[in-house]
Amino acid sequence: MTLFEAYPLLLVALVKTGILLFLALTAVAYLSWFERKVVGHIQSRLGPYRVGPHGLLQPLADGLKFLFKEGVEPQGADRLVYYLAPFLALSLALSGLAVIPFGPAEIEIFGVRTTLAVAEVELGLLFLFAITALGVYGVALAGWASNSKYALMGGLRSSAQMISYEISLTLSVIGVVLLAGSFNLREIVAAQQGYWFGAVPRWFLLPQLVGFLCYFTSAIAETNRAPFDLPEAETELVAGFHTEYSSFQFAMFFMAEYTAMVIASCLATLLFLGGWESPLPTTGAFAWTVYLPTVVLGGGGALLLVDALRHHRGFARGVLALLGALLGGAAWAVAQPMILPLVQGPFWFLTKVFLLLFVYVWVRGTLPRFRYDKLMAFGWKVLLPVATLNALVTALVVLLRESGGLAGVLR
């Protein structure tokens, strides 16, 4: 295959990458708004509400503010590594998105049929772990380059934390690999198709409940989020590894952290929650569920319109009305028979990812921060043995079932 023949492939890849990165960065920006709103309400506050209606333009304002602030290079900092660290953190986090499949459908761009993932990697799961393993360098190098004690201590602490929980993170998914027999994310989802007793979806959540809990706990620690946000333990370490970072360099660490959250939630959805499989059967009495995307988008649009007309005026009313109209248009679009089958997968996938992200925020708003020694002890003394045992027990059960129970073994 020559480069010329590969040309449409390049173009399609560029288009898909562009769309994915645009959506991801928008999602990451609004995730910060969502988090502040939810944590605000958990703490009986309103959260951001001044920039635009319901503070909806806050991420935009934050982004611009980061951009126009002075980037201070601290004295004695290693210039090259100081800028390398946020660059590494963000570009690695964004790279991980490439291997995530968003749905089973195929679309056509420039006459090339292509899937809903930038790259179909056979070892997609392992590729994501490789990206995660590299993530520790952004933190460690940032801590070193700043030439500040807090930054160095924070960098060391969070890298020690990240490597400790990486072990249980990888061990906790071995059970899933054993059940699905593949590292390919599509095949893992395919292994979760169907229903038990005709109603309970055959997701790996049930047989791998222990694995899921281990995975999600490790993922929270791996992404340095509360209650494991020790590197940002402001009472003891100021701001950890990014103490000396300002302006957009600082924002890049934040974007990397939120992107890592999104990727961890996507992976949890693919591995344990059946990916893009609907939780309801789409036949018989439940055939109407294919219109759920329309209902959700249309309902959201209607709510926004009502809110705009009843509680807002001027600019805010315009913004809300525009958003409502956009959602309404989207609702109409996804009901079209041509698009309807395309959006089923992404709709369920993104709904589950959104739920997991909500859990992330909920946990942050609810639990107090761990003490560092307890954190390390928990990772090595609880999660590691439990994840290993989970893998062994899963293998044992699968082998017993395949050889026809204990009698089959003894025969």
């Binding site: 590969a6 399609v12 002075e70 601290p74 790279s95 004690k149 400790s164 690999v177 360099q249 390390m376």
Partner: protein, 123 residues
């Protein structure tokens, strides 16, 4: 290079290049747009308002090295578990026994580290 190989990794490579380009562009943009008014006090490392004392890069608690070594060893363990998990239906009970012995040895190591207090941060 086979066609499938190219189909898989060219998009991946493009995605990574675009991601790196984006990160680099954001860095450059903020340097270009943002003001630049350094002063002595502003450039000092933050130590809660007190003038910084001594060098930041000093030898540290040995704990971090021990944890890093334990990490490498268990990382190697997981890397051995992956091919087993992939081929485990073909390997059957034999593979299960092999991995059982393997994990038994590592569990012994884990218990040793545990008893020696490597995982107890304040001991």
């Amino acid at each position: 290079m086979t066609e499938g190989h190219l189909q898989t990794y060219v998009p991946l490579l493009i995605h990574m290049l675009v991601a790196m380009g984006l990160a680099g562009a954001l860095l450059l943009a903020s340097r270009w747009v943002g003001p630049r008014r350094p002063s002595r006090a502003k450039l000092q490392a933050y130590e809660c308002g007190i003038p910084p004392l001594g060098d930041a890069r000093e030898p540290f608690a040995v704990k971090f090295y021990l944890v890093a070594i334990a990490f490498i060893l268990f990382d190697a363990e997981t890397m051995f578990l992956f091919p087993w998990a992939y081929a485990f239906r073909d390997l059957g009970w034999f593979g299960f026994g092999a991995i059982g012995i393997f994990i038994l040895f590592l569990a012994a190591g884990d218990i040793y580290l545990w008893k020696k207090g490597v995982f107890d941060w304040n001991r």
